[in-house]
Symmetry: C2
Subunit: 491 residues, 2 copies
Amino acid sequence: MDAPEISVIPKPLLLERGSGEFRFGSHTPVTLRNGLPELGPEGYRLTVDADGVTFEADTPAAVFHAEQTLRQLLPPAALREAGGPDTWPLPHVQIIDAPRFRWRGVLLDVARHFLPKREVLRFLDLMALHKLNVLHWHLTEDQGWRVEIKRYPRLTEVGSWRRETLGDGRPHGGFYTQDDIREIVAYAAERHITVVPEIDVPGHSTAAIAAYPELGNQDVPAAAGPREVWTRFGIATTVLNVEDATVAFYQNVMDEICDLFPGDYICLGGDECPKEEWKASARAQQRKAELGLSTEEDLQAWFLHQISAHVAAKGRKLLGWDEILEGALFPGTVVSSWRGTEGAVEAARRGHDTLTSPCTWVYFDYRQSDAPGEPGAPWAAPTTLERAYAFEPVPEDMPSDLASHVIGSEATLWSEYMPSPRVVDYQAWPRLCAFSETVWSGAERDYDEFRGRLVKHLERLDALGVEYRPLEGPRPWQEQPAARWRAEEAE
Amino acid sequence: MDAPEISVIPKPLLLERGSGEFRFGSHTPVTLRNGLPELGPEGYRLTVDADGVTFEADTPAAVFHAEQTLRQLLPPAALREAGGPDTWPLPHVQIIDAPRFRWRGVLLDVARHFLPKREVLRFLDLMALHKLNVLHWHLTEDQGWRVEIKRYPRLTEVGSWRRETLGDGRPHGGFYTQDDIREIVAYAAERHITVVPEIDVPGHSTAAIAAYPELGNQDVPAAAGPREVWTRFGIATTVLNVEDATVAFYQNVMDEICDLFPGDYICLGGDECPKEEWKASARAQQRKAELGLSTEEDLQAWFLHQISAHVAAKGRKLLGWDEILEGALFPGTVVSSWRGTEGAVEAARRGHDTLTSPCTWVYFDYRQSDAPGEPGAPWAAPTTLERAYAFEPVPEDMPSDLASHVIGSEATLWSEYMPSPRVVDYQAWPRLCAFSETVWSGAERDYDEFRGRLVKHLERLDALGVEYRPLEGPRPWQEQPAARWRAEEAE
């Protein structure tokens, strides 16, 4: 067997190929040496020569990244679970590598459609292969609550499933026990991935309100919004009320969440919170007056502040969507800018770190082409692979002295249009291959050169059984009759 | 942490618990000694005492079974992928164990609904935990052809997907490349599981005919049966023609199948082949006359003989469903008796080995209760867990001198009513736990005692993320509105 072509994704800083080849087996030892300090905590040098494989790396994360690169130097078949030869050809090479950003995230929405634990673990494996290191885990929604909270069992008993989806007549649901969560967090940690849980408040909370109606604005007629776990998609007008008891409820929830997720960050959402209910609720208006607040936006900021302060008192930092810029920001909160990148600039101006996640560039629930059978959110312009690859994490209009506030980016996999793990595969890959280079590799990018490497890389995804979107378009059974989704949306 | 209760499934021959406990970690060595000859090739003795763990076993399969038992002696959390302590408590115990039958099979139908490779690998893991050792892999059907055949690429290009299912307007499909097949077979072999492929002929072949119309009875009006990959369920009247070219086609297919699957057995199906087309086809009638045959049943036997002889010439043995008893049996063919157990008795009388797989006992696509929301085939009486546990592999009316012809049994997971891996989990577990005892453990069984052990065993399935049917009935999101399936069936 010939030594394989070299096509590492994400692209390393520097790669120099030698002329020889080394035979590598699962028991071949790897020499480990001190790293090069200038490469930072995640950087490494990987050398393959006649003596074998050497990693120069100073941290377990850097060693892990070197291992992931090594896997990509082997033939694709080496990634299969069984059936290979004893040794594989490994080209002589020197690679020097380090990431551009420290936060290389993917949002995984398991609330609109549940993903079984095994699929979350597999997703972590695939993230690791691409050197992505933050799983932003969207766990609660109008359409479902996915994490067991011991103090409030109805959150999962009632909130973890819905009667049907878009009128299909079939129940859908599922949740992770606390043991499942600890397993997933530990599995991620072994892969140097931090899991950032998102408990979205005060909007996107219909499932919680269905479980505990006292969390909702009960003096507003139910007809104003859904009060069962929502069976449709969109922005629900149903939101949490602003009672002290509701604040206390979520503080208690956060106590359990902070115990389960040891990472530095907790996401409180804060996005898409319509103010209709608070405007219509006499009780919410009374609370606004009691608290000395003048607008509903102030009420939202007050609510988020109460939860944020509680979480911050445990030594954690907060993450929220750019809507939280409408009110006072809790100190140290990181802002994820999704409605364009203006929020990132604004956050940086206000002295906050920020993530860029602009929907028209890195929302991978959007379609990958505008062909009729292309799956994905039908109402948005497509995000092609080429466009995903052209994403630049630092906004053009970010003042250069504030650019260091951009600590990274996140691609998102919102799951309204991803009813099964097979569809998640289709939407995530290969767009996340492109995204991984935008956050790991240098700012200089050449799409044609990337595409050449990707063709080889897709053989790896084949070996791993990933049902990605082929470059030429969906396989026949991956097509989604667009008319069907559109009709469902219009219902 | 206390030493765990002992509740091994399938139940070992003999289990004696001691009073102490040993701390076992992932690096703890296990002592391996020669086995006890009277326990046969798969039997083992497993001892845990103050000195640690000892296996007495003579074959890799026996050592593997001992390891699976050991996993069940650990606390359930030890089965999780990550996050446990360094060592676990292991009770002092002596276990002597050996299987009752050598063929402990499960039929997995990936043709009516495709299962991605990862789900097949996971299913093999779960089979191994329950000491099931034959995966009867149903790869071709009216509704889809799932295995790449290099010589006939249209079998997967055309045959691996259908336009829709029961009028749902969504395409469905997928297939395994030959590399995928080799990986799965190797992965199974590492777990001492043999994969027996089924290429079903001459019925259940609409997907192949859609790909290569010349395989069908082209002189019969198309209106007589489906000619595209079938989008409905039931018994299609569309069947293969009886031309020499069709025989040669399938002999060529079998050449590739035999290369991919190194096990002793190949299944040719042979079930549910309606004779309407052959009766209506002038060409089939002409062939019958040419071949000197008098009935359409003879035509079927002739067809199967041609393929069987070709496969047998490669040193393989044949497996077929009990319908093949309607004609002359090819020498050495094993008969799987599914329409009751009469076929098993008949096969044994004719000197053939046989598997029992009676549909009213071990067809796990049937419902697990008759409650309104219970998923599964709505037209069959339920197969409860208790009934599954009461299955006796040797038919009552099998003459005792022929009983040794019963080499084992197979449970089946036909997938018309299993549109996703989550539903496969629900139907398979815990009924396969019960089935595993009927084929591994002794003939004496006490359901209440089993149920007590099962309650503990379900904690293992929880740790493994298996979405089994809870003993008290489906979780809300596992319910299947019966009315919906019935309406679809009636269409």
